[in-house]
Amino acid sequence: MKKYKNIIFLIILIIFGGYLRTGQEKIENIEELDIAVGIGYSLKQDVDGSVKHVVPISSIVYKEDGVNVNSIKTGEANTVALSREDRQRKSDRKFFLGTEKLYIFEESVAMFGIYVPFETLFKNPVLNDDGFWVICKGKSEDYLKYKIQGYDTPADYVTGMIRNASSYNFFQKNYRLKDIYLMVGSEGRSLALPYIELKEKGFEITGMAIFNKDKLAAVLDIEDSKTMNILRSDKSRGMLTIEGNENDFINYNAKCKRKVKCTKEGDKYKFIIDLKFNGEVVNNVMYKKLSSKVEVKEKFEKDMAKKIEGRCTEFIDKMKNQYKDDCLELGRIAAAKYGRDTGVDWNEVISNSDIKVNVKVKVEKVGRGEF
């Protein structure tokens, strides 16, 4: 009994001591913290040729009257991690990471390679893996500084833009940091991120930035991005148009499903991409009596399928010859079937393999019909 008594006493002591210790830890008020919302990242070349990493962080300063202020604090140093030190010297508050919604990386950083900042991001356990990642044109600081009435920070706005981009233009949803870790690290996968620009009237997604390994390969314009997104993602949504002359057009808003088959003949791979579109005719002045006649509907479906097919093959040609990059992530499918870690460079293999696209278009709804 005595033996137990001592042990129980000891345990109580430890619990009590632990309790007191946690009580002593200082808990800061929200007003005393810099709550990070958006993180930018730029590179700067010094006079002596050394590269400096510039990391501006946009944070909200909470005030009593409810009007919050966006403050930008920039750290400059020789490495990403050291920039924290530099930033703290300029700040009156403690930095609070873990709530950031957006990472804006400059185009120049992407060209330089993203492994280095990636390393720092990945190491940090408090960082928010659900934050979105975009590539921007020009200085990332300008993006974080831009004022939009009704929003605390522009990072809130851009986050919303990326989150809701998937409702049109066939954009995907996986532009979060955790997805990107996977995209960069897995075999046969490649990174593609939204590319935003700050224009006169505000932010705009102007295309996609595609990566070869960790370096920027090309920036696609919005039309090419659409085609790539159709071919790249399993499920997507967007609008397609057939245009004749000026007043002859039809708009088709559809959901797209992708299935890829992969076969191997000798050393050569062959891919068949099946695309299934299912959607609604939104505006139609081209096909008369589309809603009442089946033949017209079938003709439209055929025309549309042909048009999409042409567009896709055009993009694939461009990809194979110009970008030389597996931006459709076909290597992933081939690797899953024929073995990983065989030392194959999928970018090269895909550029030399045969890729075929089959398109099926279905009109589900026609709205109230044509006027």
Partner: protein, 387 residues
């Protein structure tokens, strides 16, 4: 096989069955729990997560290469905590109207709702080009608010939508009130809606008329009505003229002010409502129309007649009738010779009486027919009398 071992086998089977049932139950429970949670995970968005707009504009321009481009700005409300509301303009630009949605999504941070709009602003460049292509997209959309009001504006629609009216979160709310209430004073119809546009564009012998507005130095202002021929705007009339046009045109009770003025000291103002009837006859040379306007109302200011009795009342009624008739005939003259459109929708009456789909161009027929106007004014009240 003896009976005891037979029993044993049976019990073993029973136990196996029990196990099977258990497994099935487990799977069922898993499925139920999964569906319950996955149903709860369906994107349910609050109103703050949508771009709610009170109105949008439709603009059309040609770019440097000469191709047509639509520019469709949405006036979007941004809700903040408390009572703070802001409005933002989000513009989509594309070669076709529907594609602007796709383009707009690249610039906006929320999904937008199409259909909750109260006001549509069409630019002069669009209505000059033709409404047909744009009417199709509105007609096709099952979610659109068919009672939304349409106005035509001078210049760019974006400027109208961006215009700040004090006390209002966005200008479309103000425009809606303007158009809706102009019918109480200016003999405006209450039917400048999308639904009405479909009907006017597609019916034989009818022509569309829409309020025309601009930004003057004092703010937003309705300056008249835009006249359409088919789906194109061809002309516009000022408010003073529009008054008499509406009186003859609209088959509904209209309200507004009339006045006779001799000089700055001698005048008479009258507030009343009008209703018109149309008679149509086919004669040898063409059609003959007679429009009878019944006006009933009160005298609200009068320095013209010193004394008010039965005799002067009759005199006043006659004078006012004559004045209305004169102004109406002036308008008809102008319509037949200058505008050359059937903006009184007389073709509709003729077509209903003498047959539709005969290939007649009613604009031309009405421009060449005889149109007579008769006004019957009746003074109801004179207030507390002359001062």
């Amino acid at each position: 096989m003896n009976s005891s071992s037979y029993k044993e086998v049976e019990t073993v089977n029973q136990i196996k069955n029990m196990k099977n049932i258990k497994n099935i139950l487990l799977i069922c429970v898993c499925v139920i729990i999964y569906t319950y949670y996955s149903a709860a995970m369906v994107d349910e968005k609050t109103i703050e997560e949508y771009d709610v707009s009170s109105g949008f504009g439709v603009d059309l321009y040609r770019d440097a290469a000469g191709t047509v481009k639509y520019s469709i700005p949405f006036s979007v409300l941004v809700f903040r905590g408390g009572n703070r509301q802001y409005s933002m303009i989000k513009t989509g630009e594309a070669p076709t109207g529907a594609e602007t949605r796709q383009n707009r999504q690249l610039k906006t941070d929320k999904q937008f709702l199409i259909g909750s709009q109260k006001v549509l602003v069409f630019s002069e460049s669009l209505v000059g080009y033709g409404l047909k292509y744009n009417a199709d997209i509105e007609f096709n959309n099952t979610k659109i608010n068919d009672r939304a009001i349409i106005v035509v504006c001078e210049g760019r629609t974006e400027d109208i939508l961006r215009y700040k009216v004090k006390g209002y979160a966005s200008s479309p709310e103000y425009i809606e009130g303007m158009v809706k209430n102009s019918m109480t004073n200016d003999f405006f119809s209450r039917e400048y809606t999308i639904l009405n546009m479909y009907v006017r564009l597609d019916t034989e012998g009818r022509n569309l008329v829409l309020p025309y507005m601009k930004i003057s130095d004092k703010g937003l202002e309705i300056t008249g009505l835009a006249l359409f021929k088919g789906d194109k705007m061809v002309n516009k009339v000022e408010v003073d003229e529009a008054k008499f046009m509406n009186m003859m045109r609209e088959n509904e009770l209209l309200r507004g002010y009339l006045s006779i003025q001799k000089n700055s000291d001698e005048f008479m103002n009258f507030y009343g409502n009008t209703k018109r009837r149309v008679k149509c006859n086919k004669v040898k040379e063409g059609y003959e129309f007679e429009i009878i306007i019944d006006i009933k109302g009160d005298v609200i200011a009068n320095t013209l007649y010193k004394e008010f009795n039965g005799k002067t009342k009759k005199e006043l009624e006659k004078a006012l009738s004559k004045d209305v008739e004169k102004k109406c005939s002036e308008f008809i003259n102008k319509m037949q010779n200058e505008y050359k459109i059937d903006c009184l929708e007389l073709g509709m009456y003729a077509a209903s009486k003498y047959g539709r789909d005969t290939g007649v161009d009613w604009n031309e027929v009405v421009s060449n027919s005889v149109i007579k106007v008769k006004a019957n004014v009746k003074v109801d009240k004179v207030g507390r009398g002359a001062y």
